[in-house]
Every structure is written in structure tokens, then in C-alpha cells.
Symmetry: C2
Subunit: 424 residues, 2 copies
């Protein structure tokens, strides 16, 4: 700063997920001073979070310290802090501890959390999966359920402990159901003496008419068959009407289950509230075609916290590639403005959808090309390893997967946090 003749343009980016980080990458070399704020110290590769929850990967294999990812970017200051408001008039971001950070341009990339559609009281019984802590909590619940079943003598209680309900059959729900079924049917059987883990029930409940509704109907049908082949019970067209410590209710019937996982919906961050800006029912900011927030030309928003129509008229999906494209686009707009030029409106380019269903089972929808089965599974694996940042993690994840693949074993089957309090 001391040798800069003019005061550089200050860009503040809130959130170091796919959208926020891509904005930072896109601004490399631009005459700006960047402050990146996140309440976590790590960037998380969310698409593989379910593999931490199901003990296939370790937390450090899908998360990287943000500072380290950006260690060679001397133009970026990373703050580990909780944002709780924006003062748009003064152009300052408010942190929870009272500090305020001034900006010339603000980028909100604050993501989403799971949402219970007015039933927040279900959260303790049906936790969702968005953070590393969520993943280790779910892993503990799943593994402890088997441990308790091993020590339970009452057949009904034992059956409830061995029943796993996943609510919502989007990619996360499908991937969780498929992996828990594998865990129960293939990984765990030799380790237990009193219970037969193969008898565990994995029930996937979906309110809509099919699984993976974002995919082509034929691929959905294949995914359902593949799940059923793996031992997952698929229940369609049934909204869950109650979640308690004992289980779930749907279609008027009660299913006793001690482990329930919520994968049915998300709600955007509070970014819309901070700005008093228009949002949809899921709290997503309705942004302008250049991804600025209406009424706030210096505030951009990207990723899961916004809603915008794609070229086909449908909303741009809440997936990593979309957030990255938005972040990259915003970096171009910021650079163009500094150069006194303009760029056209954001245009989402959908490159394809992938979902893993189980071992050697995946589906891929590239538009014209649709794949399923073993070849789709290999492409899914290679694509994900390719997207992981940093050589070491790619290698480590590849080794972990080869291990799971070859031996049906999962290295990360650790019950941590509060485990000592858990007995029988």
C-alpha cells in the first residue's frame, strides 16, 4: 500500500465457498485490495461431504485452509470472522465482534443451510449435511446406531437402531442412502457379533414422484433400480409429516428409526435480510442479470444465496459449477468497471449433472449424452478427483477410494466428539 500512488479499490468478499473463492481467483492481477471473510478457516468441497458422513473420507481430504489456498496472493487478506450485517449506506460489512470492514465493491457468497420448511423443531432428530461438523456428527450417529444395536437385547429397539431414514432424494439424499446401504451390507458385517448389519433398513423418502428429479426420467428410473438393488427402500410421493426421536411419520404411518437424515431442502443465508433486498421463498436474493443486488450497484451476490434464471428459463441450479461461473463472471464485471468497459449479462452454461448411487453405479447427464452404470461411475470419480484443489488431496482421495473399492473398508470410521458420553 505504501508504494501505491492511488488508493486501491477495496473488494470485500464474504464466504470462501466455490463462488467466493472463484471471484478471488478471477481478480488475480487486478488493481484491487481484497478482503475475504469466512466464519470457517477452510474451504470445503461440499459435493463429497456425504463421503465424510459415511466414513469413506477423512475431513482433511475435502477441506483446505483458506489462507493456504491463497498464500501466494499477497493482495488478499483473509479474516476468520462471522459477518452479521451490511451497512450499505456507509459501505461497510459488520462483524459479530463489532469491527466493520469498509468496501468499494462487496461480493456476497454466503451460501445456504438446510431448511425444515417451518419445522425447525425437527432439526435435532433429523440433522442435515452442510458443514464438516454436520458430517462428523452424522458419522457419529450412524456408527453409534450400529454400536447400540449390538448391545440392545429388545428386538423392537434393535430394529429401530438398525433403521436409517433419509428424507429427500436429491443428489445428497441418494448418495447418502446408497453409501449407508453399502456400509451396512458390505463393510460392517464381519465386525459385529450379535447383530447382522445386512438386516439394517435404509429407507429413502421423497415427497416428489421420482428420485433425482433434476435428471432425465430414464436416468431417474435407473437410479431408483440401482438403489433398490443395493438394498435401499425407496418411498416416493410421500411428504414426511413428523420427525421425532422415535422415527418419522409419512402417509399416516409411523416408521421407527433412530437415525434420520435431512436432505430435503435448503434455505439461503441472511444476505437478503442484511440488505433488505427482494428474495424468494428460500430466502435467495433475486439478483440483476449482472448479479448485482437490485438497488445496490456495488453489491454482487453469487452461488447458493441467489436465484437467477438460466438460458432455458429454469433457475440456475445450486451446484458448484454454477457458483464458480458466477464468481468468475463477477470478477470480470469488477475488472471491466475499473477499466471503464462493460460486459454482457451473466449466462449460465450447464456442462452436465453427475450423481453417484453406489459402488460402480452412477448417472451422468451431459444433455445429449446420458450415461449410467460402471462407465458413469468411473467418469464421476475421475471428474471429482480432477476438481479437488491440490495434488496431494487428489492422490489421497484416490487412494482412499481405491481402498474402499478394493477392500470394502472405510478408514475414517471414527466416532469422535462426545463419544465418551455414549454408552449402550
Amino acid at each position: 500500500m505504501t508504494d501505491a500512488p492511488a488508493k486501491p479499490h477495496r473488494v470485500v468478499i464474504v464466504g470462501a465457498g466455490f463462488g467466493g473463492l472463484e471471484t478471488v481467483f478471477g481478480l488475480k492481477g487486478a488493481p484491487v485490495e481484497i478482503t475475504l471473510i469466512d466464519r470457517r478457516n477452510h474451504h470445503l468441497f461440499q459435493p463429497l461431504l456425504y463421503q465424510v458422513a459415511t466414513a469413506s473420507l477423512a475431513t482433511s481430504e475435502i477441506a483446505w485452509p483458506i489462507r493456504h489456498v491463497l498464500s501466494d496472493r499477497k493482495d488478499v487478506t483473509t479474516l476468520f470472522a462471522n459477518v452479521n450485517g451490511v451497512d450499505a449506506k456507509e459501505k461497510r460489512v459488520r462483524l459479530e465482534d463489532g469491527e466493520t470492514i469498509p468496501y468499494d465493491t462487496l461480493v456476497l457468497a454466503t451460501g445456504a443451510r438446510h431448511a425444515y420448511f417451518g419445522h425447525d423443531e425437527w432439526e435435532p432428530f433429523a440433522p442435515g449435511l452442510k458443514t464438516l461438523e454436520d458430517a462428523t456428527t452424522l458419522r457419529r450417529r450412524i456408527l453409534v446406531a450400529f454400536e447400540r444395536a449390538e448391545r440392545e437385547t429388545d428386538p423392537q429397539r434393535r430394529a429401530a437402531l438398525l433403521t436409517f431414514v433419509i428424507i429427500g432424494a436429491g443428489p445428497t439424499g441418494v448418495e447418502l442412502a446408497g453409501t449407508i446401504a453399502e456400509l451396512a451390507k458390505h463393510t460392517l458385517p464381519p465386525d459385529f457379533r450379535r447383530i447382522d448389519t445386512q438386516k439394517a433398513r435404509v429407507v429413502l423418502i421423497e415427497a416428489g414422484p421420482r428420485v433425482l428429479a433434476g435428471f432425465d426420467e430414464n436416468l431417474s428410473a435407473y437410479a431408483q433400480r440401482a438403489l433398490e438393488d443395493s438394498g435401499v427402500e425407496v418411498v416416493l410421493g410421500q411428504p414426511v409429516t413428523e420427525c421425532t426421536a422415535d422415527g418419522v411419520t409419512y402417509g399416516g404411518q409411523q416408521l421407527n428409526a433412530r437415525t434420520i437424515i435431512w436432505a430435503a431442502g435448503v434455505r439461503a443465508s441472511r444476505a437478503a435480510e442484511w440488505l433488505g433486498a427482494p428474495a424468494d421463498r428460500a430466502h435467495r436474493l433475486k439478483v440483476n442479470p449482472d448479479l448485482t443486488v437490485p438497488g445496490h450497484p456495488d453489491v454482487f451476490a453469487v452461488g447458493d444465496t441467489v436465484t437467477i434464471a438460466g438460458p432455458d428459463g429454469n433457475p440456475v441450479p445450486g451446484i458448484a459449477p454454477a457458483a464458480k461461473q458466477e464468481g468468475r463472471y463477477v470478477s470480470k464485471v469488477i475488472k471491466a468497471r475499473l477499466n471503464g468497459t462493460t460486459v454482457g449479462p451473466f449466462r449460465y452454461n450447464h456442462s452436465g449433472s453427475l450423481a453417484q448411487i453406489g459402488k460402480r453405479k452412477a448417472i451422468i447427464d451431459f444433455g445429449r449424452i446420458k450415461l449410467r452404470g460402471t462407465i458413469a461411475w468411473w467418469i464421476w470419480g475421475i471428474a471429482h478427483i480432477y476438481f479437488l484443489i491440490g495434488l496431494r488431496h487428489r492422490l489421497s482421495v484416490a487412494l482412499s477410494w481405491l481402498w474402499v473399492y478394493a477392500r470394502d473398508q472405510r478408514a475414517a470410521r471414527l466416532i469422535t466428539q462426545g463419544s465418551s458420553k455414549v454408552t449402550g
Copy 2:
């Protein structure tokens, strides 16, 4: 059980650390029915726990699900439960949830926790390192201290955040001090913008006259020089008289430090209380020469929860090889009793002591052969990789270490558990 003509001899082992697990291994093929009880679901390779605390290794690299380690041992039933007593008259182990487990022979391998010598009120300010949770807690504290320092503008508070005190210069204390110094001096500098992490102070305080008192004096002196070369301040002959949220007091002076780590002493489990048996000041059971508990010929105790004299008259040290030898010995006594034969008293065989001080710095004391420096460091690394159970973990740990070695980077620098609550 159904095809066994006579009721098999029931061996109950409490604790799946080095001693307990080695007892199980030694009983392979014996005509016994084994129940292994642990309040954790994993066996922990404690000698490398400090590397999890200092972000070099992931939790899953030094811990294995007990069930999985023993999945091919159909004679072993593993229970994930908390033991809270022994009814020696009825020959039953009491679990916290009320269940009791009958035994013919009982092996107590319940280990030790850190101890504050009558100052339990220090624990919140100076946590110790015995479990995976302890390690992730310490990792969080260390990493958060740097994060807070980056956001602190007051020079005194910033200095306190960048001061790390380790109390106790045994192997754990020395290894922690050396690794934190490396983290501050080599790994973190490029990642921070406002603070110079190289200015962090790492202070190792020891009440006794030298570091690593269990080693030869020359090796101790070398270790001290190596620590000081790495930037660790070594304070000897100074018992700590106070620990608070602000720092420590020793020799009448106050040192402001926001991170304090306790590595000064351990206390055995409650096994002696359960039996009302004689114990030393650190609650260690005083066992007979055949490792039975006095007055309880059917109860053995091994590992950190016992004290027994070695062949040189000194107590057998509380290290993994000693616990393993004791566990192996007990399995032999049990088998001999079942065969109607006897074995001589336990005789500890000390094969050597190893400690890592920093990158390319270690000391090894094999009795006649004493090594230090780079060659000792390589032997230390190879020995530890050799001792890790299971090929995959060896490979994974080796890769992690090579990465740290070649790049000065640490993959596991994740702040988890409660991180979202931490601001500024």
C-alpha cells in the same frame, strides 16, 4: 458356543489401548471367549497424537475402529461402553448403563489421563493430550490463536495470542514445542498478512533440571540445543505455580499467553478404586510380579494403569512397548493356567527410547547405542511407520510426512468443532 462341549473360559478385557489389544492378540487360538470393552470405538496410536494436535496428521491416520482391527477374530466380542466398576466377589464388570458382564479372568488395561497434581482448576486453561478429542481441541486452540492474532490490533493482546506455553518437557512436551515452533516459523508465515508468525514465542517450562529426563544426559543436552535452534525458549527448574486464562506464573513472574498446553503428568484410571487395591500416588495399581492385582488372582492389570519395577529396579516406563509386553505376558499366563502350567514373573525388556524434536532432529537411546540428529530422525520415522497397524495407514502417514517434509505444509490445518462460534 453351540458346538463347544464345555463352557469356555470367559476373559473380559477393559481398554483397547496397546496393552489390552496385545492381550487379545496373544490369546489367539486359546480356548477362551473374549469380551473387549472400550468407551471409544477406536484404538489410538498415542505416540503420534501430538502430530494431530499440530496439524501434521489427520485423526484417521492414527486411529482404527477396534471392531475392524479384530474383525477376523470371531472369538472376540467388542463392546462400546463405559465401565464404572468391578464386582470382584461376583466376578462381574459393571457398565455405566447398568449391564454387568461376567468374567472368569479380568484384564484391566484402562490407561491414564493427564493430571494436574491437585490443581484440576487449571484444566480449562491448560488442556492435556490423551484422546483424539484432546488433539482436535488443541489443534483448534493453536490455529485459532493465530487467527485471532491476525485480527488483534492491541500489541499486548496480540503478543499474548502469539505466545504458546508447554508445561512439562517429557517426550510429549518436547515434541509439541518443536512442532509448534516449526508451524510458526516455517509453515504459517506465507499465509498471514498482518502478523509475522515467526515472531511467535514457544516457551517450554519444566520443573526438573533438564528436558527428556528419561534419556541420557548428553542426549538431553542435544535435545535442548536443538529445541533452542528451532526457536523454542526452554525454561528449566521452574515449577508452574498458576495457570489462568491470561497465562502462567513461574518463579514469581507472570507470562502472558493465550495458549497453554499441559504435558506435565498423568494419573492412572480408576481401576485401583474399583478393586480397593493398593496404588501409588498417581493411582497406579501396585501389581504382583505376574501382573495380577494383590488379593485378586483372577484380575490382571497392564499398561499405564499399573506400576511395577523393571529389571534395573526403576519403574517400567509408561510407554507403548512396555504396555504391549505386559499384555503379551498376561496372555501367556492365562494360557498357561488353562493348560495347568506356569510361567515365570514378568520381565520388562527395554528396547530403547526415541523422541522427535523437529525436522531432521531426533534422539534415540538404545542403551549402548545413542543416536541424534538426522539419522536418528529417519530411524524414528521408519520405526513409527513400521509400528502403525495396517498397510494403508503406513502409506498414508508416510505420504503426509513426506509432504510436510518437502513442502513445509500441513494438510490437516482444519478448525472444527465449535469453529462457527469463534470470532475475533
